[in-house]
């Protein structure tokens, strides 16, 4: 029996957390994420979700609550946006370094100054190197399903996961979402087993100062130095790719929805140009690809679902036969180019794939991005490529004079 409701992305995220039976939730409200934890707070208050809801004075404290609760064995959840996420920055490193399977929704929003409450992905992209897995969702169904999947992935590889989706564009847009059966979700998601049990009967000192070199502990066991532990985190993220793909496949078997694991593609088989993106701009790009095909240009879309770990092999495979690549993204690595474009180019290094790669920075601070504009942009890129321009960075619909 399917249970479809017409809900916002924020409701979808809240349902995901509820179905995952999270035990501790802490949050500090920030637009556009607020209604996620507002909804959860309501469920906790009415006894519909048996969880501890911890009110704190800042996002920095939110993440410390999540770290503490996860350390003592609770399944934890939070959500935030923009400056809230940036305020957590130090604790994001701490969560990943402690190898805690915290799941957090990042409802993507631009970063000040100047103030913007509107959507882009600068917030989560700027947290790229904190050791968190990052998943970017293309619609509200994927948000709900990804939150549930995230717990299974995180608790298997002991890494925290950020489920990212575009503020307002998805967070406040209602669309049909199939809400899975709670018993089936239980079947999919086994209870959380922490790697370290911290309890009064067995006191431990976790994360003390660590030396550069390996060292014997009080029992004479040789323990990792700082760098060895960093390698283990890097290795865990590299190895998590298989877990992410397997989890996506298992989820599809049980619930009938496959969101693509690390990466998805749309009408790419015969494509003369491939459009790449993450999140809702990639959804919009599928409509642009349809428009381009109506105009006689065989366009396809490659959606990067998981940005960290970066799907190196899958990107290589997806672009293997691409005559031209156009990357649209809602972030900028100042002084260089869009973060996704840079990573795609790096993945293609040494493979013999020699397609021109054009980069469009689009939709910063909520500037509307229409499918027709994406199609026009692709056409302009193809003209420039024909004229010999192999690399190009363009700011879409932006005054650049």
């Amino acid at each position: 029996m399917s249970n479809v409701q017409i809900i916002t992305g924020n409701s979808a995220a809240a349902y995901g957390a509820k179905l995952a039976k999270v035990q501790v939730v802490s949050a500090y409200p920030i637009t556009p994420s607020t209604s996620v934890t507002e909804t959860i707070a309501n469920w906790v208050e009415r006894g519909e979700l048996k969880a501890e809801y911890v009110r704190v004075e800042s996002e920095h404290s939110v993440m410390t609550v999540c770290i503490s609760a996860s350390t003592v064995g609770a399944r934890v959840f939070t959500s935030t946006s923009s400056h809230g996420l940036l305020y957590m920055h130090e604790q994001l490193h701490w969560a990943a370094g402690s190898r805690l399977p915290i799941v957090m929704c990042c409802i993507n929003r631009g970063v000040g100054a100047p103030w913007s409450i509107f959507n882009d992905q600068q917030d989560s992209i700027s947290q790229r190197d904190t050791g968190w897995i990052q998943i970017y969702c293309r619609d509200n169904q994927e948000i709900l399903d990804s939150v549930i999947q995230a717990y299974r992935i995180a608790e298997e590889v002991y890494c925290p996961i950020m489920v990212c989706y575009d503020g307002f564009v998805l967070s406040h847009t209602m669309m049909p979402v199939d809400i899975p059966d709670a018993d089936q979700v239980c079947q999919f998601l086994p209870p959380y087993k922490p790697h370290t049990i911290l309890c009064p009967e067995d006191p431990r000192n976790i994360n003390p100062v660590i030396f550069p070199w390996q060292r014997r502990d009080a029992e004479g066991v040789l323990r990792d130095g700082y760098m060895d532990m960093r390698w283990k985190l890097q290795h865990a993220l590299e190895e998590s790719r298989d877990v992410i793909v397997r989890t996506s496949r298992d989820y599809a078997e049980l619930f009938g929805r496959e969101h693509g694991g690390l990466l998805w593609s749309y009408r790419t088989d015969d494509a003369e140009v491939l459009i790449a993106g993450m999140g809702s701009i990639a959804t919009e790009a599928t409509t642009a690809a349809d428009l381009l095909r109506e105009q006689g240009i065989r366009a396809g879309v490659v959606g990067v679902r998981v940005y960290r770990p970066f799907p190196r092999a899958e990107v290589r495979e997806a672009f293997r036969k691409a005559p031209a690549i156009v990357v649209f993204e809602k972030n900028i690595s100042y002084g260089y180019e869009g973060a996704l474009c840079a990573d795609i180019k790096a993945a293609l290094y040494g493979t013999g794939i020699d397609a021109p790669v054009h980069n469009f920075i689009a939709g910063l601070g909520g500037r509307d991005v229409k499918a027709g504009e994406l199609a026009d942009a692709v056409r302009s890129s193809l003209t420039a490529i024909t004229a010999g321009k192999r690399e190009q960075q363009t700011w879409l619909n932006c005054v650049t004079e």
Binding site: V4, I6, I117, F118, N119, D139, D166, F168, V169, L170, H172, T173, M174, M175, P176, S280, T283, E284, T286, T287, G366, D368, V369, K370, A371
Partner: protein, 188 residues
């Protein structure tokens, strides 16, 4: 795909109306529906819009609607404030809450007009919020009668889905009255 823009003022139930239309359309069998408010902060009394997209296939566009097939105007004073007609496709529908009949509405162009005195209907059925008539559900009835895009029966199901028992009964009564009382003027 059909695109509907709702024009109203903060507090008039614009966002809820856009949602109920999306839900009713889904119940009727449209696989793709979305509804969205104007993105950003909301203020009571300020002009605002919400949108509904309706399609046979799942919707893969979330950008702002450029030209709507249907524009619903909950507050006719907005005609002097924003360019409502400019956001309407040729041969589209302009659906207005007004004291006038559709033939008397003094707006002309290549579009169809449907009109009803939704405020009077709301008052008649005690659809009031903080003393103000809630014209959003009656306007759903006018939309259904004029365009046939979503049937009255589906809208009634949508209202039942969305609202509690007592509230849904009065809203359905108002919707039916507006459906019956709507006047229509087809484009030349």
């Amino acid at each position: 795909m059909y695109e509907v823009i709702w024009h109203g003022r903060g507090g008039q139930g614009v966002v809820i109306a856009a949602q109920i239309l999306a839900e009713a359309a889904y119940l009727q069998g449209f696989k793709g529906v979305t509804s969205a408010p104007t993105f950003g902060p909301e203020r009571r009394g300020a002009p605002l819009t919400a949108s509904t997209r309706i399609s046979d296939a799942p919707i893969r566009t979330f950008s702002q609607i450029e030209k709507a097939d249907i524009a619903v105007v909950l507050d006719p004073s907005l005609f002097g404030v924003i360019d409502i007609v400019g956001s309407l496709k040729p041969k589209g529908w302009l659906i207005v809450n007004t004291l006038k009949k559709a033939d008397e509405v003094d707006i002309h162009g290549c579009f169809n007009i449907a009109a009803a005195d939704a405020a009077a209907i709301a008052i008649r059925f005690h659809l009031l919020k903080e003393g103000a008539p809630m014209v959003n559900t009656p306007m759903l009835g006018v939309l259904s009668r004029a365009t046939g895009l979503v049937s009255r029966e589906s809208l009634e199901k949508g209202l039942k889905w969305k609202l509690s028992g007592g509230a849904s009964a009065t809203n359905i009564a108002a919707l039916r009255a507006a459906y019956e009382e709507a006047s229509i003027r087809n484009h030349a």
